[in-house]
């Protein structure tokens, strides 16, 4: 299990490949992956950048607790979670969640659970910089189970 916060740009596919090769080669049958990427628009406005604030100590604690709950609920071989903090720009990867298991059901469901719990509970806050020069806080996360 690995959980990390980074203020540096990261390539989620490279992180995934490296972690898998080091920790898991030959052991897993299923991998489920979610990657969140920064968009250049939100609520009808162009967005040129964003700052991700977090609560040092509590954020890590909450993420560890969410992954622990997933491990109790599903038969997971391993999990990898990386979340950006600080200043980001459109097209940057913001979050990577990967879950490995023997069979697909556990990996799929655990990956979704971790992502939805992170969205609800992990103390991160986004402040957007708009193309107009204005700055604004994102007020809430959308419901991940709605299709629109």
């Amino acid at each position: 299990m690995s959980i990390s916060l980074t203020s540096q740009t990261f390539d989620p596919w490279q992180s995934l490949a490296e972690y898998q090769a080091q920790q898991l080669a030959g052991k897993y049958g299923a991998t489920a992956v979610f990657i969140g990427t920064m968009r250049d628009f939100n609520q009808g406005d162009g967005v040129v950048g964003m700052t991700l604030e977090y609560y040092p100590g509590m954020t890590e604690k909450q993420l560890a607790s969410i992954v622990e709950q997933a491990n109790q609920q599903w038969a997971l071989l391993d999990t990898l979670l990386i979340h950006r903090i600080g200043d980001v720009v459109p097209d940057d990867s913001l979050v990577l969640v990967a879950a490995w298991s023997a069979h697909r059901g556990d990996a799929f469901d655990a990956c979704r659970f971790i992502m939805e719990a992170l969205k609800k509970q992990a103390p991160f806050w986004k402040k957007e910089r708009l193309a107009s020069g204005e700055e604004r806080w994102v007020e809430s996360n959308s419901n991940g189970y709605q299709t629109s």
Binding site: G36, L52, E53, Y54, Y55, G57, M58, K61, H83, L94, V95, M115, L118, K119, K120, Q121, A122, P123, F124, W125, K126, K127, W137, V138, E139, S140, N141
Partner: protein, 77 residues
Amino acid sequence: MSIKVRYFASLKERVGHADAELLLPEPLSASQIWQRLNPDLAMPEGVLVAVNMEYAGLDTLVNDNDELAFFPPVTGG
């Protein structure tokens, strides 16, 4: 008793600072502490509370050396 209070994100901007220290003769609830520290600012709807980095309720009693945090709904991911 001494309590450390922290504010994050938009709430930090509304309150005007990130941290506060409070000395109290007896434990108070999180909402009582908000009122004491911010008498002119009603707590915005949806504010979340944590005590010692665990989620807590507005009526949770805060004790000596606790860290109390107030923050808006989270928007990570």
